[in-house]
């Protein structure tokens, strides 16, 4: 129930940490972790973790024959530079990769916005509205996180292709989707799969907002939708942003849902499915995956780097206290 603390500057944090004996155990651990030895190990881990990606980058600028017969480290002995792999990836097929790039964007943006919109509303209802069975509903939604996505693929496909009938009553009609309409299936699928975590994360964040704030607004005559829009949403913006990035990366990198629901047809296929196919029938063109990986990585990397501030802050704020 503490008021939202203004973000501490680095200097303040350091001063607080160095202020000595009254440190808690957690504080001491934190201080020790910030020491230079820890930094060294963190750097080391980071480097080791980055080496494969670096190797991939080096491979992507080598020629097909060299990629296939020698390891990427041989590049240092005999440096070479060719953009042949990138050219082949971007323009090699009968449909340009740009089409799939746009498909991925069309899939990703709604698949991020829908769960955010529904999740925020649900989280508000679960944290600031009083209604019967609220806690049980929250527990149920929380529990849904343990349902693996893979288990839901076939039932969801059936729902789309056959609809839902109870007895002879049609509850949900079968969707007869053709061509670009199939985007709807991936949007719905990604939204469904994202909602439990989204609701959980936003609920935790929202329920920590000071009650006084909400009550004051209510006294001033604001109704729930007003409170939600004018008070809660701006305050949880970091959590929204962090979940948004999270979901963006997840959807952009997703292969399974895309493969099952839309496949690689040029009208709707996402870039990941297309890239996975570039290896050819018997994997003879696997050298293209090196360049393909970096083409596919460009967008999420940009998103992550430009928004990582929110990512870290939002995760810390939303995930720790229940």
């Amino acid at each position: 129930m503490s008021p939202v603390a203004p973000p501490a500057t680095r200097k303040e944090v350091r001063a607080a940490m160095e202020s000595g004996p009254q440190l808690t155990l957690a504080g001491r651990v934190r201080r020790n972790l910030a020491s230079s030895t820890a930094s060294f190990f963190a750097m080391l881990t980071a480097i080791v973790w980055t080496i494969p990606t670096f190797g991939l980058l080096v491979s992507s600028i080598r020629s097909e024959n060299n990629i296939k017969t020698t390891g990427w480290w041989n590049w240092f002995g005999s440096p070479e530079f060719t953009l042949e792999n990138y050219r082949e990836v971007l323009t090699g097929g009968d449909v340009s990769l740009g089409t799939y790039f746009i498909n991925s964007i069309v899939i990703t943006i709604p698949a991020v916005l829908f769960p955010l919109a529904f999740g925020a509303m649900a989280a508000y209802a679960l944290s600031w509205m009083e209604w019967k069975g609220r806690d049980w509903t929250f527990i149920l939604i929380f529990a849904l996180q343990i349902v693996p996505l893979q288990m839901a693929l076939v039932p969801l496909l059936r729902l789309f292709s056959r609809g839902l009938e109870i007895g002879t009553t049609v509850v949900i009609p079968a969707l007869e989707l053709e061509g670009a309409q199939k985007f709807a299936t991936v949007w719905i699928a990604h939204t469904c799969f994202a909602l439990p975590l989204c609701v959980f994360l936003l609920h935790n964040f929202m329920s920590q907002l000071p009650r006084e704030l909400i009550e004051a607004a209510r006294v001033d005559g604001a109704d729930h939708s007003r409170i939600f829009r004018s008070i809660v949403l701006p305050l949880v913006a970091p959590a929204l942003a962090s979940f948004g990035i999270f979901q963006f990366l997840w959807v952009w990198n997703d292969l399974l849902v895309g493969l099952i629901f839309v496949g690689s047809v040029p009208e709707v296929g996402p870039i990941t499915v297309k890239l996975s196919e570039m290896v050819g029938t018997r994997g003879q063109d696997w050298q293209l995956l090196t360049a393909g990986a970096f083409v596919g990585m460009a967008v999420p990397l940009g998103v992550f780097l430009s928004l990582q501030r929110y990512f870290v802050r939002g995760l810390l704020a939303g995930g720790l206290k229940g």
């Binding site: 509205m129 009083e130 789309f160 292709s161 309409q181």
Partner: protein, 459 residues
């Protein structure tokens, strides 16, 4: 205060529901009319279209095809349908996937099956038929298959006595890749018998290189190139009859004849003198990717690589694949040529066209794919062969596919389909693969064959 709040709460829920519906609705209303091809009747008057009369005329119909055939072969597939599309007005939507088997199973289970799928394993076809999702082949297709394929091939597309899937392409597995230019420079000749082949191996080994190379690593499917070795050799030592019994499990997997075939393979693959040319010792077979298995041949570090005709796509594009070129293949010779039944065994594989829809336009396309006209048109585009008897060898574009078609059509040859594709999936795409990996890693023949036998599904 409480009451209005609650009502508004309900309103919010209703609003959220409304958004869901709007989302669904906007999906439905998204775009329309993108699939109409509009060839219409006028195209049918084109004299070039006379041959397509029998398939009928459909306007604005689409057939979805789902396959495991990807770039670059997919381009030739799409190209070979163009005339059919123009003349009948049917638009063929081609979709390939590198996760074909898994994706197809999920899609059929979810009621989202494509119209047609090109299935490379008769075993998978059987599984899908048992799910009840595959439609029996129409009469027009069955007639064409009866006329253009041998009964053996028809049998692979038949499940429980009912004919479902017509054969499409075919590949020959009984081939050994070699370098004609290397052979010429070292005055070596292509062996005619198995014994000659071993003698040749010794000759090459005496020159200081290991004559054979192989690669079994293929991700989750690691070991499969080894199963082809066993099948090829069993077909040669045991003959077609034993082979069929082995595949259908009438004799156990560790029958003495099968064990003998494993040992015969071991004479080559487990010999440090013979393998693994350009890569290292025997165990490197398991770590070399199957795509790279023969790539040391052009570097003259290896001389022989037993691999199917489709390996042609793996060679560097600058190499000439021909009888007098840089790379070519010879028929893996018989072990016991004196016996008629074992004179010329040919191991191969292929795809089968399974239909999940019985719409007339789907059946028209199925019928076209079973015709010799399509087979000839497709073969002219290169990189492809078929066991269609109506396929004329002179129409086959590249030398290696010509060799394949000759073997497939050879009246003296005994053709058998890749056995691991017909065994139950638990064995054919499971324990048999791992058995080959263990075999190379040094386990004894008894151990590996016994393990596979123990894993054979009971029922």
């Amino acid at each position: 205060m409480a009451a209005p709040v609650r009502r508004r709460g309900t309103a919010a829920v209703v609003g959220a529901l409304g958004m869901t519906l709007a989302l669904a609705a906007c999906g439905v209303g998204g775009s329309s009319g993108s699939s109409a091809s509009g060839a219409g009747g006028s195209a049918n008057n084109d004299p070039a279209c006379a041959a397509y009369k029998e398939y009928g005329s459909f306007s604005g119909k689409t057939v979805n095809v789902f396959t495991s055939i990807l770039a670059p072969e997919d381009a030739q597939h799409k190209k070979s349908y163009e005339e059919f599309e123009k003349c009948t007005g049917i638009k063929i939507k081609y979709e390939g996937s590198s996760d074909f088997e898994a994706a197809l199973k999920v899609r059929t289970a979810g009621g989202n099956a494509p119209d047609l799928a090109y299935i490379p394993q008769p075993g998978l076809l059987g599984t899908l038929v048992k799910q009840g999702v595959v439609k029996a082949a129409p009469k027009s297709v069955e007639e064409k298959v009866d006329k253009n394929w041998t009964p053996d091939w028809k049998k692979y597309g038949t499940v429980d006595g009912k004919f479902y899937a017509a054969p499409l392409g075919a590949s020959v597995k009984s081939l050994v890749w070699y370098s004609p230019s290397y052979f010429k420079a070292n005055s070596l000749t292509v062996p005619e018998t198995w014994a000659d082949m071993l003698k040749l191996s010794d000759t090459i080994a005496a020159k200081g290189i290991k004559p054979w190379c192989a690669g079994f690593q293929s991700g989750a499917a690691s070991g499969w190139p080894g199963t082809d070795w066993i099948e090829d050799v069993l077909l040669r030592t045991g003959g077609a009859e034993v082979y069929d019994k082995w595949v259908s499990h009438e004799i156990p997997f560790n029958d003495p004849q099968v064990v003998a075939a494993f040992d015969k393979v071991g004479e080559i693959l487990k010999s440090e003198k013979y393998v693994n040319g350009g890569y290292g010792n025997v165990k490197t077979i398991n770590t070399v990717r199957f795509q790279d298995g023969g790539l040391t041949i052009p570097k003259a570090q290896c001389a022989l690589h037993r691999m199917a005709s489709f390996y042609a796509a793996q060679w560097d594009k600058s190499l000439k694949i021909d009888k007098d070129g840089d790379i070519f293949a010879f028929y893996l010779p018989a072990i016991d040529p004196s016996s008629d039944a074992k004179k010329k065994p040919v191991l191969g594989a292929g795809e089968f066209v399974a239909a999940f829809s019985d719409k007339p336009e789907v059946q028209a396309f199925q019928s076209y794919l079973a015709s010799p006209e399509w087979a000839n048109a497709k073969a002219k585009l290169g990189g492809w062969a078929s066991a269609n008897k109506g396929l004329k060898v002179e129409n086959v574009a590249d030398p290696i596919q010509k060799l394949s078609v000759e073997l497939l059509q050879d009246p003296n040859a005994t053709f058998r389909f890749d056995g691991s594709d017909m065994m139950p999936a638990a064995v054919g795409s499971g324990t048999f693969w791992t058995a080959m990996v263990n075999f190379i890693n040094g386990q004894s023949t008894q151990q590996v064959t016994g393990a596979v036998e123990a894993s054979w599904p009971k029922s």
